[in-house]
Symmetry: D2
Subunit: 337 residues, 4 copies
């Protein structure tokens, strides 16, 4: 039984981690912390947890939390995580960080986040927590950089073709559509109901901070430098990311052959499901689950990939727990089915 | 041609006033002001107004605006309006205030808004801008207290029965459901998409600040003190208020007879429409319009009234322009059909 | 281990029963039937069940299903259930019927559903499956009339006050707001996205077919004939019912005292939660759960009750499984937490 | 004053044509027809039109309608329009057809719609009603093939670059996102609220029937055969299409230079607005208007175009009225601002 703490317990990702752990047979939540006005029962802040998580949510105090946990989930804004993680690591605890702070090399981090990285000691030891690609490293990790939501959907949608060397790596387009929880729980006019509802927009076109993360991992997979074109869109729904990816084939492949490649690549991976030929996944198939569903269609020399995840599950909290399961030697799917 | 200014031009109500005035043949917008970071073209802030409202939106400066307008709409939070209105009134300008600042007696105001009223000089002169009840006073007004959205839908739904003395005034229940724009344009976690969407809640049950406003006007209509029960609910939609009102009849009336009373009461009122027997209005019938649609059903000695308005039109900006039309001697419906 | 069949497996309620049973440790789905074009894997129709429910969904054939189940859930339209249930009952199987067919006396049924009841033999033996009121009868039942969604939320919100004889039974108002899944999965223009979204309406005002069901049960609880006023509304959200109930107190009670009555009444009932004083439940607290959350507010001699359920869980499938658990002697909450 | 009839008056496009014509100073609606159960006042079917369109909506009878109109809008499903249009044309009336029936060559029509074209006499005379490209032909047309919603947004987003010969015509990707009214008003499970809300999907990937229409017009503009890649997506909102288009530049161009090309191309076109550098249009900028807003961003040798329209206005009814204005010699923008 692993003792678990969550910092940032009141954010969407933190809340979701807690929701998963409530039903996890090998983990027990012992500590919750968040930036809140007053310390009170977590179930008082979120009545849905009444009778399930009746422990006090405290204000952030990492040294205090470190005394009573084996492993900690950090559901914090970037720039904040890298200030807290070292405290836990120094105390010998395992850290699964859901922010972007440990996903990029320090120079790239500075370019995209505008400040110097504050934990250069631990940064090189961080493992990118995408189990479908980095399972062996995750097994031994003390610090997990849990992937971003967009990168999870895009990388899983492209990786098999890169491994197969079957596509032109110079022209990869990912057109992603995300629900609103992807932006976090915060007061923000741009995220208010009346602004988002009955609206739709592209934003940060090819300038989103998740782009360098995709480039880094895809380049590792390909063994060559990749720079994709990435357009995120905000959709009036709570949860889910659907990425439509356009790849140019450099081999003759039909849809069936492409599906075969994906099925082989993800054989034995419990959370990636490949759609049958002629079918494509949609958000309702995966919402509330930790699955990444992928469908394919070849037309001429173009492969169109549709990749769907729940941004709070496989795109954040679910994947974080999947990482915990691997690190702790639990069944990879425990709490996630 | 009346020269019009709008303070609070970037709020939902202010924006809606401007949208209406663009097509108004007797009014011209000459000045726009709002609390903004930098002064720029209004059409730059709201691209939808490109080619239509290409004048600069300035920071609030009432004395400056007063030089160049005949009439001003104040689309401001309560407590702010009563600080600005006197400037315009002193300069001889007509003021249509969309906040709650001029709707209540000073003692009641203090109870509900927590501070002393700051403009006791003008407060007694304010006319409640509900044309279906106060047309003659509005005609001569220099200061309009434009009604709240909930009160407009509830008062119009009850007034005919009060006049008819056909109901028990001791037990009036108004169960109102409102879209989210009713709460104004502001960063507020409780109004964020992910909190409102797929959710529904009652709030401020019988404690909403619009309740004393309803009580005051309904009491004036009845000639007796009325204290209603009022429960507002927040609905995941942008616009519209539907109030379901439960009245106990003290006379024998069927639905047809009740409809007759309402039709007579609102005869000649261009913006109230009474549904045919067997039909009830819904939000889609009135959204985007200045109509208040009212349907009735008698069951036993209970009269159920369904009253629908667009909270930004008849519940705010549309009614404000209707008031302007009456004051200025324009066709009451100009710009509103 | 009980062997379970579901007829109407592709409707919202049927699908939800299956979703719950997937994680139920004492029940195993052995048969699925539905009105479908061709028989295929259930997980082929609903990809979300891939790897979880990979059995074939067949066309309706009760005698065939009866051979291989101990208990059957009927997620069918009314008028259809009463034609199929007898087949299972005759074969000695337990039937939990989610339609309205076994909830009303035959004469009342005829009035509201327009046809003679077709199974007058079994109708008198049916037990109303609201465990908070009929636990002992449910324990011994072979045929459960699973409650409607509106009645569940309304009856649970009123019953404690009736038992306490603390309210005027002649004037009970229930103003209910429901998400769209409450209407079932079917092609219907009135339920299409563009008609429901950004809309809101009252419908079947005091004429909804769930009204006689409420009247029947409330009258049983009160020991006197009750005829409530009931207005349902359609809300643009997928799931959830919030009922705002207005009761006139005939005793002096404040909110705290009223809460005490409700807490006592529901003591030991695992799926009813009473909100703390000053708080009211909202849909997001209960969506996806089998809870009925109830909050209270006394104002003068009026008690306002807010009662929330997930219409597909406590309002249909969850309650159905709760009934199965009681009948089969399982933990009442198995599969439902 | 032109006398206008609408066949298919109760569909979304027909209703929208009527809504526009109500405020049109040079047109008068004289006849309405639709497939309905009983003939009644249009304002009885749609209460929002009370006092505005109080004429009877009749069942389809083209010869009867032809007697009393100068021009007719056909808001009908494809395959139906081509049966009715000849009646009006023979009677010397002008026809603006909003279906797909007159947009394709007969052989292509057969491939995509599965049947032989039934009006090969008039088909060659039909003019594609996209005024920004075919203004001079529209002026003289008797039969307008009003463009589809997706094609309008995509073609307007690509045409300037084709004219400029600045892009690689072999690899054009259009990723379009549409609101639900685009699918028409009809009972259809796939369009029901509970299926569409909180969901998102790609559909008919590169197989949508609007693709040959885009290919035909884009090929005419380019003077060469073009075959684009087109993925439509269904978004949980009522109205609006946003197309994100990916073009490969074959010349060195930055965003500013690209914007210059678009501004020149659309100079004098009242309904196309080009966003300033650094800004991109969103649905809320154009919803309810006849504008097509286009924004651009160059990154490397890729030009990303974001093109937004209201699918019922510029994508259907608005454009249809724009065509009527041009044909009749009215101001092109009459009724549309």
């Amino acid at each position: 039984m692993v003792k678990v703490g969550v910092v940032g317990a009141t954010g969407y990702a933190g809340e979701e981690v807690i929701k998963i752990l409530v039903n996890h047979k090998d983990a027990r939540i012992t500590e919750l912390q968040a930036v809140i006005d007053k310390e009170e029962l977590f179930s008082s802040i979120f009545p849905a947890f009444k009778g399930k998580v009746d422990i006090v949510c405290k204000k952030p105090n990492p040294p205090e939390m470190a005394k009573n946990v084996d492993l900690v989930f950090l559901g914090l804004p970037h720039k904040v995580s890298m200030e807290l993680a070292p405290v836990f690591l120094k105390a010998g605890k395992t850290v699964i960080d859901l922010s972007a702070d440990y996903r990029l090399a320090p120079d790239v981090y500075k370019v995209w986040y505008g400040i110097d990285h504050k934990d250069k000691e631990n940064l090189p030891k961080a493992v990118y927590g995408l189990p479908e690609l980095y399972y062996d490293q995750i097994k031994k990790a003390k610090l997990i950089a849990n992937p971003g939501c967009y990168p999870t959907s895009v990388i899983l949608g492209i990786a098999p073709m890169l491994k197969e060397k079957a596509i032109n790596i110079d022209y990869i387009i990912a057109d992603s559509k995300s629900g609103v929880t992807g932006a976090g729980r915060k007061p923000d006019l741009a995220l208010s109901f009346s602004e988002v509802n009955e609206n739709l927009k592209a934003y940060k076109v090819n300038e989103h901070q998740h782009k360098p993360e995709m480039n880094k991992i895809l380049s590792e997979v390909a063994g060559k430098t990749i720079d994709i074109i990435f357009t995120p869109h905000l959709i009036p729904m709570n949860r889910g990311i659907l990425s439509t990816i356009y790849l140019r084939l450099n081999k003759k492949l039909d849809t069936r052959a492409a599906l075969e490649i994906y099925k082989n690549f993800y054989k034995g991976k419990p959370f990636v499901r490949i759609s049958d030929e002629g079918k494509l996944p949609q958000i309702r198939d995966i919402v509330g689950t930790n699955y990444c569903d992928i469908g394919l269609k070849v037309t001429g020399d173009t492969l169109i990939v549709v990749s769907c995840i729940d941004n709070l599950k496989k795109g954040a909290a679910g994947q974080a727990v999947q990482n915990m399961n691997i690190i702790c030697g639990f069944d990879e799917t425990e709490g996630l089915l």
